[in-house]
């Protein structure tokens, strides 16, 4: 999800977006009411008009089940009273997960992690320039998330942990043995308890559409992290 702050001629402005009704490489286009520039909604890049070339700053977001989200944020607000439906409204990853991948990062460095592969590996330690990333999935519910795996000056390597704490799915870092919540990124037990890893920009995408937007993008194939002897 994108921040609506932009700099225009050295001034900070807040944009309001509307729906252009145009599809660019199968992805809908938004316009801003201030300059009528055309924006790719999925990358946050203005493609045409006065602001062409401007990149909206992305904010990390989670795409997870409602029960998961409210357990992570018990005081969350929710957009409950609104219209429902539409093609993409039914097209969610836990029913159609093979068609989806988790897109991590932005621009030429963005990388797609197909859900099928994530389900096989559960936790992937990888690199999406400039970040060392860990991509996690909850196999039961097919929800995925990405974090930076750099804490202070250490780069951690995560492995799935069998232990569960009050329904939380956990992982363990090899260097310190700390147990971490896979979805909030918080260290809950061990030497790094109290620390958290930084959530990264990650969005579930239909793989076929991702390929059209990121034509030179890298699609993850298998874990490059060296296996221990």
């Amino acid at each position: 999800m994108h921040s609506r702050f932009v700099q225009i001629d050295g001034e900070k402005k807040i944009l309001e977006f509307g729906h252009e009704g145009v599809l660019y490489r199968q992805s809908f286009v938004m316009y801003d009411t201030l300059t009528d520039s055309k924006w790719n909604h999925s990358t946050g890049l203005a493609m045409a008009g006065k602001l062409a070339g401007t990149q909206l700053e992305l904010q990390p977001s989670w795409v997870v089940r409602w029960d998961k989200w409210k357990s992570m944020h018990p005081n969350t607000k929710v957009l409950a009273r609104a219209g429902r439906g539409g093609f993409m409204g039914t097209y969610v990853a836990d029913q159609h997960y093979s068609a989806f991948g988790l897109s991590v990062g932005l621009g030429p460095q963005a990388k797609l992690y197909p859900y099928d592969l994530l389900l096989k590996e559960e936790i992937v330690n990888d690199l999406v320039t400039p970040y060392s990333v860990v991509v996690v999935i909850d196999p039961a519910h097919k929800q995925a998330m990405a974090f930076s795996r750099t804490v202070g000056d250490k780069t951690l390597i995560f492995k799935p942990a069998k232990a569960k704490a009050s329904g939380k799915l956990l992982m363990r870092d090899e260097a310190t043995g700390t147990l971490w919540d896979r979805f909030s990124g918080e260290a809950i037990e061990g030497p790094l308890k109290g620390k958290s890893i930084l959530p990264l920009i990650s969005v579930p995408w239909l793989q076929e559409r991702w390929r059209q937007i990121y034509q030179d993008g890298i699609i993850y194939q298998r874990s490059p992290s060296p296996q221990k002897p």
């Binding site: 994108h2 009704g21 977001s61 997870v64 409210k70 018990p74 957009l79 009273r81 609104a82 539409g86």
Partner: protein
């Protein structure tokens, strides 16, 4: 002395050559595309699918509590969750499929949510 290369050596040299060719031809990080290039790409790969604002875009929509959410959402229903500056908001995918775009604020930050 025999100066002929073994098959292994020949293959190794060919592989080395290939690596160099690939390394040279691989595009390096260049300048970001110009507005003209972006617009050319945009207009060549887009088409009008529906009228402008055919999808009812939401602006600062009224949000409910967890109790309100529980009344209309199944536990396994997917939401886009955003947490910033101590505030958390959830946008159900079924709602986003209908409206596609929301202009809102989370923790004071103006954001757009799209699906």
């Amino acid at each position: 002395m025999n100066y002929a290369l073994t098959t292994k050596q020949a293959l190794f040299i060919m592989a080395l050559g290939l690596v160099f060719i690939l390394a040279w031809s691989f595009p390096s990080e260049g300048a970001p595309p110009s507005r003209a290039e972006l617009e050319k790409e945009y207009f060549s790969a887009s088409f009008r699918a529906v009228g402008r604002d055919a999808f009812p875009v939401l602006h600062n929509p009224l949000m409910g509590s967890v109790r309100d959410g529980d009344r209309v959402l199944r536990p396994n229903e997917w939401v886009i969750g955003i947490a910033f500056n101590g505030e958390a908001k959830a946008y159900p995918i079924t709602v986003m499929g209908f409206h596609e775009l929301v202009n809102d604020r989370v923790g004071g930050l103006p954001i757009t949510v799209c699906w």
